[in-house]
Amino acid sequence: MVFRYYRDKVFNIAYKLTGSREMADDIVQDIFLQVWLKRSIMADVQHFKAYLFTLSRNYIARYIKRNARLIFTQASENDGVPEEAADRLLQEKEYAGILQQAIARLPAQQAEVYRLSKQEGLKREEVAGIMGISPETVKAHLALAMRSIRAYCMMRLGIPVLVYLLIS
């Protein structure tokens, strides 16, 4: 199908270039969010494919350039994304405010999981114990929370910031 085709096209290249599913998921999310944001200046959707490819090309190029060290100098099987850059960024005032807004708007359980995991620095099992839910549920809530925060911040801070914003 048409939509699956676009999603897979972008994901496939993002994955081949970064070697990380997580980064590729982020790239797909960022690109589709931009499509959504740019909707107001897109007059001609007949050329959706050309538009999407141009946007993807530019974004992926920027993403891998900014994160080149991370992508190309570590062992390829490393699927993790370090958080220092983003955390540093988010600690700056303007960004911190938006991050707080995003957290405040999360569903209660997701917000709690995020707070315990990210701000208190607890392990998944510990969070699970405190909240009385399974570690798998913690994992799922955390993933959703991080994705939501990423999208929320991107929508408000714009694309240039987001390239640095490796919050997941």
């Binding site: 048409v2 107001s40 350039k65 993933a143 990423r150």
Partner: protein, 390 residues
């Protein structure tokens, strides 16, 4: 020099044959480049040409789409909200392209509360009426298995399909008509082994045995044909008195609804010849991937050299394709599949859409979707009539 080195390493990265040293070198090249254009061009090429070997998993897709919805649930600070009609239209289209993915992956959504309560309508399914030669009409669905005798032929129904088996040397073929209502689809295997899938609101008339020099059937609406090879007896599909398709062994789709201005024949493989004899006599032989478009009103036939086969064949994968279609065209698909009347009391909004969605969902899912795309509507007459008010 750098550019060609970049291109060399980039290609090796794509097919995963980079050594660790080369990988590091590529990282340095990318990080230090002043001009992003060469890298962008390589990525563009890869997007267009590289085989898709990795796919995003469903859970990640769901999370991504949820995140986008989450982020957009209140206006972003820096997005201006000047709305012109064109902008709204584009927004609708893009949203569909994005959101369609979500719907595709959750045919059944839970925990969603509708703002307005509407009567819901089930999607179409396997339903048809079979008219026998003597005028008797048999209602078909997928529930039971039965065998009927029709002259010298026997008809076996199993699930959503009919299979004809001709007795040898039947000298008097009789004609049957298989007709799907709106909201129905059905498959039939003709006595020569040809398979035909009928989409909603379509019909196929055929003999219970092909015993002449040609195999002739008549079609209206939309049907997909997989014609059994038989060089001695050419297969012909008559779309109208003036318009027919001569088949040379093949798979193709015919879309010729009376309320569509254009009748389309799309070839998947093999070869067909399409003839049209209104005004002057015209004939075109299609190659796979090509489409013949006949307009009875204009008395013209046009060859489209490359069509989007995914889009044309979406119905065979139980999906709607909205790519590049107008709202009116989309509403026709919806009307045929959900068996509802769609009316536009005012001007038909001039919106073009992208993407697509599963057609195995209830009507409400589709309507939610339209509402999100800022199409305004009312559902009346117990869910039988959809009024598009904007």
């Amino acid at each position: 020099m750098n550019e060609t080195r970049l291109s060399y390493l980039f290609k090796k990265l794509l097919d995963q044959s980079l050594s660790p040293a080369e990988k590091e070198e590529l990282g340095m090249l990318i990080e230090q480049q002043r001009d992003d254009a060469p890298l962008e061009e390589l990525i563009q090429q890869a997007l267009e040409d590289a085989p898709v070997e990795h796919r995003m998993d469903d859970q990640a897709t769901r999370q991504v789409l949820d995140a986008i919805r989450f982020a957009d649930s209140e206006p972003a600070l820096h997005v201006s909200h000047r709305r012109s009609w064109l902008r709204t239209a584009a927004a609708a289209a893009v949203f569909i392209a994005v959101a369609a993915t979500a719907y595709y992956y959750w045919p059944v959504r839970s925990g969603r509360t509708p703002v307005v309560k509407v009567e819901d309508v089930q999607p179409g399914g396997n339903k048809a009426l079979l008219t026998l030669a003597d005028g008797r009409v048999v209602a078909l669905d997928s529930s039971s298995t039965q065998t009927m005798q029709q002259g010298a032929a026997s008809i076996h129904k199993q699930g959503g399909q009919l299979v004809y088996t001709a007795a040898r040397n039947s000298n008097q073929p009789e004609f049957n008509t298989l007709r799907t209502p709106r909201g129905g689809q059905f498959k039939v295997q003709l006595p020569d082994g040809t398979n035909v899938w009928l989409n909603a609101a379509s019909s196929l008339r055929y003999p219970t045995d092909f015993n002449g020099t040609e195999r002739l059937v008549q079609v209206s609406g939309e049907a997909f044909f997989e014609v059994a090879k038989d060089a001695a007896r050419p297969f012909r599909v008559a779309v109208s008195k003036h318009h027919s398709i001569i088949v040379l062994g093949t798979r193709f789709n015919v879309k010729a609804y009376n309320d569509d201005a254009i009748a389309k024949t799309t070839l998947l493989d093999g070869a067909v010849k399409v003839t049209f004899s209104m005004g002057k006599v015209q004939e075109v032989q299609l190659q796979p991937g090509q489409q013949a478009q006949v307009s009875a009103a204009d008395e013209t036939m046009q060859l489209v050299k490359q069509v989007n086969l995914d889009q044309e064949m979406a119905w065979r994968s139980d999906a709607f394709s909205f790519e590049g279609q107008t709202l009116e065209e989309i509403m026709k698909q919806i009307s045929r599949w959900y068996d509802i009347d769609v009316v536009f009391p005012g001007k038909v909004p001039d919106i073009s859409f992208g993407g697509g969605m599963s057609r195995e969902v209830n009507l409400k899912e589709v309507l939610d979707f339209l509402r999100d795309s800022r199409v305004h509507y009312k559902l009346e007459s117990n869910g039988k009539k959809l009024i598009i008010t904007q």
